[in-house]
Assembly symmetry: none
Homo-oligomer: 402 residues x 2
Amino acid sequence: MDPKILKELVIPGAAKIVFLILDGLGGIQMEEKGGTELQIARTPNLDRLAETSSCGLLDPVGPGITPGSGPAHFALFGYDPFEYNIGRGILEATGIDFPLTERDVVARMNFATIDQAGRVVDRRAGRIATEINQRICRKLSQELQVGEGVKVMVEPVKEHRAILVLRGEGLRGEIEDTDPEREGVPPLDPKAAVPEAERTASLVGKIVAQTGKILSAEPKANMVLLRGFAKHTQYPSMKERYGLHSLAIATYPMYRGISRLVGMTVLSEVHNLKEEFQALTDHFPDYDFFYLHVKQTDSRGEDGNFDAKVAVIEEVDQYLPQVLALKPDVLVVTGDHSTPAKMAGHSWHPLPLILHSKYCLIDAVKKFDEVSCLGGALGRMRSVDLMPLALANARRLSKFGA
Amino acid sequence: MDPKILKELVIPGAAKIVFLILDGLGGIQMEEKGGTELQIARTPNLDRLAETSSCGLLDPVGPGITPGSGPAHFALFGYDPFEYNIGRGILEATGIDFPLTERDVVARMNFATIDQAGRVVDRRAGRIATEINQRICRKLSQELQVGEGVKVMVEPVKEHRAILVLRGEGLRGEIEDTDPEREGVPPLDPKAAVPEAERTASLVGKIVAQTGKILSAEPKANMVLLRGFAKHTQYPSMKERYGLHSLAIATYPMYRGISRLVGMTVLSEVHNLKEEFQALTDHFPDYDFFYLHVKQTDSRGEDGNFDAKVAVIEEVDQYLPQVLALKPDVLVVTGDHSTPAKMAGHSWHPLPLILHSKYCLIDAVKKFDEVSCLGGALGRMRSVDLMPLALANARRLSKFGA
């Protein structure tokens, strides 16, 4: 749906929408377990909800496409995942709650080890301790100087991972990675991908050269590899697009960061499922869109731990009555992408989906899993189309055409 | 999926993909037979495969659109059937393995009979014998002369069908058909559809005039009708697009030709189903994508012969264990389009589809037919999206976005 057309249809309302997003929810059958994670999990509350709702399957990005968390989440919020395919640097920055401005170019920065000949011998600098990372980042932030009114900031993330931020006028993000993505060769030069980025690329070249000198005495982290350069731009907010006053409840920084990019208010004081669902209850009167993110389904899927992923799903199921007690006008339960334990990683498989509202068509689906939802009223739809459907069920969209 | 984005996601791999394509596979119920061809056929092997796979339905081009073999096959190979809607002339040329160059403009040429007044009295010249066709084509190739550095070639296909090739610099394909598509009127003039094609159109005019003289003594084939003019252009290959080293196994020249257009290696020494499946086994170690084309399902459908089409399907079913014994990482069984015996021709109906891999979601479908597959995990998808899905199941696509 064209966001411009959608925006014209948006009407004010008091209806409340809850998106309960279980990260990496979808799975595939694991032979020795006798089904998918959702097929095996005992989820009486989710099943009961499925029985009185419209169900279906969501394609996060496209058939066969395994999405990263960035595009998968943008799509859920109704933002075209191709248009809003944000750079790795910006995603990392949002993940550490770094306050970006529209004058910033950001890159993901990995500390690495190079030998005397300048060849990369360890792309992750032996995964140095986060404390070393923090010390080095402080030093770099203090000592790096490129002039031209450009401020250089280096912020630690974790282990060998950090972000580089250049802040100034006229900077461009079209710069190629310096990470050669293999060892035994020197880092690549930061090349401009378009002529307009030549100046920024030469500033990055200075930064890399200075960094080499500043870090020359470090035993492991004596060089940096840069990738995913991008200029930060302001995204249209959920408020502008849908008239929604939105709250994000997430324990992991990256998801809080993505939420902030689309203008949600972000809670930072939640640390576990119990606190997340309690926060939903506590703040329910104050917003009209709620994004509650459950990270552990994805983490256990990434671990390849089928039983642990099942346990997380069962735990979330126990919190469902607490959500239903709030009587949200629209309740969506789904994921951002699949992370089958069998594959121990993200996958392309579509996600089971429940959409519950007073106005949903009730289909024959009686169990919340990948196969049961195939028979659902929503059929198979793209994630990016979910938000208009939620708005419609909230009676927050007017008629299109006369 | 944008081919450029897809190309960036492609990663090397050793997984092998087999596309078993039964031409014109799909059908509709024929009352007196009690079902569709697939519903009636006894296909224990295909049914067992369906039971352990993802099933679904493929829309070859679009809802309600009956595709020719060209667009239907391009879509299967992941090429947009609208963008790669190649001219009839080029399709015929590929069908006789004619080596086209990028300087060629090609048209389908039908021998026809005109009367003394120049009116078409038989658009197919009484379906003259192929031997007569060959003799006339030799004569035309020798005698046609248009100058301007343009070489004219006429190649026989079969019966009254041939192709006309103009080879030279700056030729254009935007020329209207000379075939009036009815009898009792003279052939049309070859008009340029765009101003840039004026010169080529006037060369075609010369060819038609000379042909009339050269063939004036022929009792039946005394004129030609031209249609489907197009300039040949090089297509991106399966290797370039997907990194796939591909083999085509097909008994009919046109399908070999289409395969060659997308850069597959093409076997020409196979003549029947037995040889086709044997060729798959023999060449299995040497490629990573295999297109095996079964023509007879379409031919019997075109004949309106329900029972004979059922028999072909049952015969293919018997070869399935031979394919499974090779343990392909991804096995797709489907068609290019439907050819219901009830309609005795191509149709717009979607095609049943099996996709089998270690990573497919197993749905509840237990029989391979048009109605059973409606409940499948792949839902209803466009043919052009099948290739990304096959690549994903072969683990030959990396993650999109961070």
